[in-house]
């Protein structure tokens, strides 16, 4: 499905990709999240460097931001650009991540355009704590998230393996992601 040119054409690529995602284009959504991830990673690295904390938690900040965006994507006002919305959420989550590392005074990062222009690819060896947080989920939810993320299985294959309906798998996945967001928040303290 192609993105419809809606009222007030937003010509930036992110807004277009999000509009396409909402219209049901899963590929566009995945590309958008990967794109956002690269910019947030650059932004997180700059913030972590400036606050003089190691880069161990950068992927956590990236993934927590992506999850927050994911859980609230349907509330994005399609008449506004996506980038400032993403930036606000990312800044907030990065500040949270720095607080977790014991940094009290955290300067806000304003120059998001810079990070948009200089995205940073994922280091395949950098892991987040999400795997640890998965342990807090109910066993069935954990199994489903693992299957789709770590094992790269499709919803259909996961449903078949667990002898569940695809709808039930989707519902469980959605609940799991919401709980994961809550678990992340709790770990902020």
């Amino acid at each position: 499905m192609k993105a419809q040119p809606i009222k007030g054409p937003l010509d930036d690529p992110w807004s277009r990709m999000m509009t396409a995602s909402i219209a049901g284009d899963d590929g566009a959504y995945r590309r958008l999240l990967e794109d956002i991830g690269r910019s947030v990673r650059a932004m997180a690295r700059a913030a972590f460097t400036r606050a003089r904390v190691g880069d161990a938690d950068i992927e956590d900040a990236v993934q927590e931001t992506l999850l927050a965006i994911h859980l609230k994507r349907h509330t994005w006002d399609s008449g506004q650009k996506l980038a400032p919305w993403v930036h606000a959420i990312a800044r907030h989550k990065i500040v949270d991540a720095l607080r977790r590392r014991g940094r009290r005074k955290v300067e806000p990062l304003e120059n998001f355009e810079e990070f948009l222009a200089a995205p940073e690819a994922e280091d395949p060896h950098a892991l987040s704590d999400a795997r640890k947080l998965l342990e807090t989920l109910a066993p069935r939810q954990r199994d489903i998230v693992r299957s789709i993320s770590l094992d790269g299985q499709s919803i259909a294959a996961t449903a078949k393996r667990l002898s569940m309906s695809e709808v039930a798998v989707r519902v469980a996945l959605h609940r799991a992601l919401k709980s994961l967001g809550a678990a992340w928040r709790r770990s902020v303290g």
Binding site: Y29, R30, L71, H74, T75, H92, S128, V145, R170, H174
Partner: protein, 212 residues
């Protein structure tokens, strides 16, 4: 977990139907106000001499003040419900009701003899005000918090506190028509205290229910 793996899980979760947050909050506001109105009609009702009172400046000032407080609180809350909010200019409007209130107090101090100041300030029933405004505010606050859960506020406690402020302003509109005390000395003392209670409850509810 690697981010690419994590994204696979996110991408498998289908997108919900987009919502219009403004409409949700407007609908919640209507429901909350109907609840407040029901409580008001059930438990309070307008004061008997309302027709005469409506011709006095003091009485009318109570409504202007409440409205001047409720409106910017509500609009500010609406903005903070989104992460990319730019609330600065709007926040200044929150000063307006306090200037208005202060001006009313100054005039009152000039035209009322000093010996009457304290009795004007205490009014007929200050405790009634402190209990009634939060009670009338409760339905509005509850409805707003439920609607705000659909939003994405980055500052849950502050957003909740503003919902409390807006609900207190609306409750004060109802309460003002029932309360026999019109002196700005009374209004400037007890209304803000009752509002603070609502804001405190709102902040706690925001922290509890609006974090995401």
């Amino acid at each position: 977990m690697r981010t690419s793996e994590f994204i696979a899980a996110l991408a498998a979760d289908p997108i919900p139907t987009p919502i219009r947050l403004g409409r949700r909050i407007a609908a919640a506001l209507v429901i909350g106000v109907v609840g407040s109105l029901a409580l008001y009609l059930l438990l309070l009702g307008p004061r008997p001499d309302i027709a005469e009172a409506a011709r006095t400046v003091r009485f009318c000032l109570k409504f202007v003040d409440s409205l001047a407080f409720a409106l910017p609180s509500l609009l500010l809350m609406l903005r903070l419900a989104r992460p990319d909010a730019k609330p600065r200019a709007l926040a200044l409007w929150l000063v307006a009701p306090f200037i208005l209130l202060a001006a009313g107090v100054v005039v009152e101090l000039f035209i009322v003899p000093q010996s009457a100041w304290m009795s004007r300030l205490m009014g007929a029933n200050a405790m009634h005000c402190m209990i009634t405004i939060p009670m009338l505010a409760a339905p509005v606050l509850a409805a707003l918090i439920v609607a705000l859960r659909e939003g994405a506020p980055l500052h849950p406690a502050l957003t909740g506190a503003l919902a409390g402020a807006a609900s207190a302003g609306i409750a004060a509109l109802f309460y003002a028509s029932s309360c026999p005390d019109d002196s700005p000395l009374f209004v400037a003392t007890w209304y803000p205290l009752a509002t603070l209670i609502c804001m405190g409850v709102g902040a706690l509810a925001g922290r509890r229910f609006l974090a995401w």
